[in-house]
Symmetry: C2
Subunit: 408 residues, 2 copies
């Protein structure tokens, strides 16, 4: 397929594109490049991120990141984490809770310190170094979740540690951003931060521990009594949106609520709800992945200082997570520790939020902002092949041994 069918539909101004054309360009290019990557032996997810780079402002300029792409991307990652939750059992996640906490804490502390020290040594202002460190803390678990789900590896120990750690990671990173922003603002309220922590942890513990029991009862009743068609699916959606909204209220990301919702509901809902939710996820996830690529800006390479700093920052960002999180999971052996470390590498939307907050508060300079965004796109693209490598030789339930041997 050449660019011709796409190009014919473009009428010059990217703002004027209709909904159907934008859907076609983003979804179509993501799936096309995913297929290409799969054929080259690479994870399809890389193709979907690179599709965003390709159609984005720096290369073809067909689509700009805007409110529409942001909405579709947010919906995509919400449903992605919901689907992952549907495939995970709360008990097993709780069993691995100790390791998850260690991975989560070390995976925030070490990248933060690494980022801070790097920028401090580079002679930048202390506050800017603090923001850079903060930007390195939060893992974008959606990338890893998609790789693991596509390869049917969500039931592995490393996968469960990663998912548990991502929750801890998210709480800590959001608290850190709150704290750092208040310091930059000159208004620190320790009581408020403590209260947020308490709410967030309490909410997650309650939902993870007792959520599926409470929901099980409700779902069984609804299944029998509701008059509307597909009532169980409707209930699952309401539950997903409610927990996502509540998560935000207690100070955690909406996607954590989506994950908890999926986990709480997984045993109670019939397979049909899984299939219907799967359709939504299949449609929306490419928009989440392509949107990461849309943020890539070629013009940052015109400033050689940004390029040099990024060339140092990218390994710092990758290695600090790989070793920080790996350290936390070391008690499960080196293989699992490597898998966990690799799975925690991706960065995404949180980086952009930190960078934007720092910019708005005047604590971050424009070149640092550009560098952080570049780092996030590169880390998101590098993580999937690293994860494939870390999980090399693992049998997929639907793979025969012969197939695996050819991969070796």
């Amino acid at each position: 397929m050449t660019h011709l069918p796409f190009a014919l539909l473009l009428s010059g101004d990217p703002e004027a594109l209709s909904l159907a054309v934008r859907l076609l360009i983003i979804f179509g290019s993501a799936k096309l490049l995913a297929e290409l990557c799969e054929r080259l032996g690479q994870p399809g997810i890389i193709g979907e991120i690179l599709a965003g780079v390709l159609i984005g402002p720096s290369v073809l300029g067909w689509v700009q990141p805007d409110a529409f792409t942001h909405t579709m991307a947010s919906l995509g990652v919400l449903f992605l984490l919901f689907r992952v939750g549907l495939e995970v059992e709360a008990e097993e996640l709780i069993k691995l809770g100790g390791t998850a906490v260690a991975v989560g804490v070390l995976g925030v502390v070490i990248p933060f310190l690494a980022g801070f020290v790097f920028y401090w040594l580079a002679g930048r202002e202390q506050m800017e170094a603090v923001f850079l460190g903060t930007a390195l803390t939060a893992t974008s678990v959606g990338i890893t979740a998609q790789v693991l789900a596509a390869r049917k590896l969500l039931h592995r120990t490393a996968a469960k540690i990663i998912l548990g750690a991502a929750i801890i990671d998210d709480i800590l990173a959001l608290l850190l951003l709150g704290g750092v922003s208040s310091i930059a603002n000159g208004t620190v309220n320790v009581g408020e931060i403590a209260l947020t922590t308490l709410f967030a942890v309490g909410f997650i513990v309650i939902v993870a521990r007792w959520g599926h029991q409470a929901v099980g009862e409700v779902t069984r009743r609804i299944g029998g009594q509701m008059q509307s068609g597909e009532a169980e699916f409707a209930f699952a959606m309401v539950f997903l949106f409610a927990l996502a909204a509540l998560s935000e209220k207690v100070g955690v990301a909406a996607i954590i609520g989506a994950f908890l919702a999926g986990m709480a509901i997984s045993k109670s809902v019939p397979p049909r709800v899984h299939d219907l939710a799967h359709g939504v996820t299949e449609l929306l996830v490419p928009f989440f992945l392509a949107e990461i690529g849309l943020h890539f800006r070629l013009e940052v390479f015109q400033d050689s200082r940004v390029v040099i700093l990024a060339l140092i920052l990218i390994p710092v960002a990758i290695l600090s997570k790989l070793f920080g999180c790996g350290l936390g999971a070391l008690r499960h052996g080196k293989v699992i520790a490597t898998r966990v470390g690799a799975g925690m590498i991706p960065r995404g939307e949180f980086c952009m939020v930190v960078a934007q907050t720092g910019l708005a508060l005047g604590a971050l300079k424009a070149d640092t902002y550009a560098m952080i965004v570049l780092m996030a796109v590169v880390a998101a693209t590098i993580a999937p092949p690293m994860l494939h490598w870390a999980f090399r030789g693992v049998l997929r339930p639907d793979e025969t041994l012969a197939e695996v041997r050819t991969i070796w």
Copy 2:
């Protein structure tokens, strides 16, 4: 369920609501009121439209119609028509083509004349009467499609006539709006209008007649060769978006392309694609229905002139479609003619487009605009029970005769 859980999540300014909260409010209220309506023996679809009125600016003021709700609504109706297309066979639609053309043409001409004469008799300016007539022409087939799909009636003769007529109706209404706008602008280009007609009709005929043969071959090949997961679903989505985008290019609505895409693909794709697409539709359709209700403005009732005009306009709008379209289908007997007439009553997004265009061109006054929007909301709400009444006594494949007797 009280309003409390929703109210707790609201933080005053509707603009500041997060994605998850908006999803929860719109989807949750739509499904809640749908269930309520079903229990009261009314079609659930009314509840979903009324949910939009309830949460919208005139009652609770929780959600404003904006770019987000519009995007979700447009996605919803796109997937709704795609799903309907999946359940319809092109050959059967073409067999009923003669009746569909008669219904489509009479269903545009008679409502247009009725609207024009009514406003001309009311002493309004000629151009305003022309715009009002135009606003009455286009059926919002999504409403009817949803009712018929929910009751599993899409295989009935009347349903197929309605779907075919909706295509004709859409072409004629869009041409009429184009023509009327050029007259109001003072720039009429007959050649351009003729060319648009030719393109639109040619495109539809080609896709409807040969689309499924061409697609069948491609789908079978893709199913075997693609490396990515759910490749057939991805292909179906790309095909849907491509036909929707192409439809717009040749001058027809995107939803017509979505319908043709579903019809062309229905025989070639495996049941799994139907299920996945069904999940997307189930999620998005409530946003389409609630968004109709969001446009309702209570303040129009403060102007008694608007109320009186609306009290005349609403029966004019309903009866002109009922009799106009019924007349076109009379050769199939009175029962089918009534069903077709009732199914063509709903108005929706096209009304709003005509009203906005007329307002922007200065041809329409603000009170007429408010009245048209009110008429669209009322017609969309009244049509489902009329349709239920017209199809009374029809066995659903999953209903026993005893159940039907109790409805009688």
